[in-house]
Symmetry: C2
Subunit: 297 residues, 2 copies
C-alpha cells in the first residue's frame, strides 16, 4: 500500500526498506501515534475510504501542530480483513496522501496485516524548526485562553448521522473530514503560547488536561464562545443545545492555547477565557461536571 | 499505560503530552512501524503478556538495527477489549520497557483504545549516528552474504507449540522472546555492509528482498548453513527437516547482510553465500520455490 507514495522534501528514504529515514532540522523529532478501529472511530457506511484516510492523518498531524511543530512524515499500520475491496484500500491511501499534501509531509513507511476489522495504527513525525515545544504544562495565572479552528461542527455532524440523516452537508462533512488549522500551531508557538493542545476529546476535557498539567484553573466565558448559525440551526432541528457540541465535541481538531495577557493574536484565534489560580475548568464560574454531557440535556 | 515509563537519554519530552520529542544526533531519524494482532501474531495461551511486549518491541528494533541505526524510542498504540485483565496490560508494558532497556531506548508515547481483540501498533525510532543507512538495494556482484543471530529457532518453537508441546524450552523460548543481535546492525554498517535486512519472513524470503532491490542473484551454500544440534533433535522428533526452519523460519530477527569480498567479519557473523549476476535466491544452485515450504516436505 505504500508503493508510489510521494516523498516530501524531508523524506531521505521512503517506503520499501526495513525503515524510513526522515530529515530533522534542529536535533529533535516530534512523534505521536494513535489507533483507529473500524466501528469505533469510523464507520464504512458513514465515511468513504478517502474520508477515513484524511481523518486518520489529520488526527495525528493536529497533535504535531499542537506542539508548535510542522508535520514531516506519516507511518501507517493497516490491519484489514482479507476480503476488503482493493478500491477501499486505494481510497484510504489516497486520503492519507492528500492530507499529507496539505502539510508538506509524506507517507514514509507502513505495514499491512490481516485482522477481522480494519485497524489503523498511525504515527506522525514533525519538526520544531528550532522552536521550543509548547506543552500542556506551561499555562500561567493571568494568561488568556484562545482557540483556532472549529468547535462543535464534527459533533453536530455525528449527531445528524446518528439520527439517520445525511444533511446539512456542512456538519456531516466536518465529521467526515476535519480541517485542523495546522499552520496556527507553529504560529502560536512563535507568538509565545505558554501551553497548547488540539481538541480531540472536547474543549472542556482538553482544557482540563492543560489545567491539570499546569496546576491552574481555566475560566471560560460563555458569551465569548461562538455558536455558529449553522450549529444553532441543527441544534434547533435536533432539540440539542448547540453549546453542548461547542464545549464537548471532539474530532474537529481545533487548537486551543494559552498566551500571556496582552499577546496580539491574529484573527485566526478567538479569545474565550482566562487562566486563574485553582484547578479544573469552569464555564461562567460554574464547575463543568465530569459527566459534562448531562449539563445541557 | 505510558505513565511511569523510564526515559532514556534521547527522550527530550516523554509520554503525557500531545506528542513526544526525541533527540536526533545527525539531522536524521530512522522510523519503522508494524501491527501485531492477537490470534495472528501472538496467542495469549502461548505467550505471556511480558513475552508479547518483548517481541513487539524486538520486531521493530530489529528493523532499526537492520538500517545500521541504534533504537532510541518506541511509540505504542494499544487497542484492547474492555475486560482485559489489568495484570496483562501491566505485563505488556513491562515487556516493552525491558526490551527498550536492552537497547537504551524508551517508550515515549502511546494511545489506548478499545477493540474486540488486542491490536498493537508499534513504532520505533532510531539514530544513525552519522552512518549512511544500509538499505536493501546496495548488494553488488562478488559480495559475500553473512548473518548474525539465530535462524530457525523460533520456527522450531512454533512447530513444537503447534503440536501441543511446551518443550524443548530453548526453542519455545525462542518463539516467545526473540533475541535479535541489535548491536551487530551498526557494527555491520561500520564494517562496510552493502545491504542488510532482518529475517522476519524467513532467510530466503528476506534475502529475496535484497536480491530484487539490488538486481542480483544470491547463492546460498547449504553446507555453510548451520543446523544447531537442538534444531536437529527437534526436527527428528517432529519428522521435519530442520533446514526448513533455518531457510524459511522468521521471528528470530537475525540480521543478514552483504559485504565486499575480503571484509573481515567478527565471529558474530557466519558466511553463508555469495552475490552473483542474475535474480532470486538459490540454495546449492537450485532456485528456491516460491512456495518454499513444500521443498522439504
Amino acid at each position: 500500500m505504500t508503493a508510489g507514495l510521494a516523498s516530501a522534501d524531508s523524506t531521505l528514504l521512503g517506503p520499501g526498506d526495513d525503515a524510513a529515514v526522515v530529515a530533522t532540522t534542529d536535533g529533535r523529532v516530534v512523534a505521536t501515534t494513535d489507533m483507529l478501529i473500524e466501528g469505533r472511530h469510523f464507520r464504512r457506511d458513514w465515511s468513504t475510504a478517502n474520508d477515513v484516510g484524511h481523518k486518520a492523518a489529520a488526527r495525528n498531524f493536529a497533535d504535531i501542530a499542537a506542539m508548535g511543530a510542522v508535520p514531516t512524515a506519516l507511518l501507517v499500520g493497516f490491519a484489514t480483513p482479507g476480503d476488503l475491496e482493493v478500491i477501499w484500500a486505494d481510497g484510504l491511501v489516497a486520503g492519507l496522501r492528500e492530507e499529507c499534501g496539505e502539510v508538506g509531509a509524506a507517507v514514509v513507511g507502513g505495514d499491512i496485516t490481516e485482522a477481522d476489522v480494519i485497524c489503523l495504527g498511525i504515527t506522525a513525525l514533525g519538526d520544531l524548526q528550532g522552536r521550543a515545544p509548547v506543552t500542556l504544562s506551561g499555562a500561567r495565572v493571568g494568561d488568556i485562553v484562545a482557540f483556532a479552528g472549529r468547535l462543535g461542527w464534527a459533533a453536530a455532524g455525528f449527531a445528524v448521522l446518528s439520527r439517520g440523516f445525511r444533511s446539512p452537508v456542512q456538519v456531516v462533512a466536518a465529521h467526515r473530514r476535519p480541517e485542523p488549522p495546522y499552520a496556527e500551531g507553529p504560529r502560536a508557538a512563535e507568538a509565545g503560547a505558554t501551553s497548547m493542545t488540539d481538541v480531540s476529546d472536547g474543549l472542556v476535557a482538553d482544557l482540563g488536561h492543560i489545567a491539570e498539567a499546569s496546576g491552574v484553573r481555566i475560566d471560560l466565558l460563555g458569551a465569548q464562545l461562538p455558536v455558529p448559525a449553522k450549529l444553532a440551526e441543527v441544534g434547533a432541528a435536533l432539540n440539542v443545545d448547540p453549546r453542548l457540541w461547542v464545549l464537548t465535541g471532539g474530532d474537529d481538531y481545533a487548537l486551543v492555547a494559552t498566551f500571556p495577557a496582552g499577546t496580539a493574536l491574529s484573527e485566526a484565534w478567538t479569545r474565550i477565557g482566562v487562566v486563574n489560580e485553582g484547578e479544573g475548568v469552569r464555564v461562567d464560574g460554574r464547575r463543568w461536571p465530569a459527566g459534562g454531557h448531562e449539563h445541557f440535556r
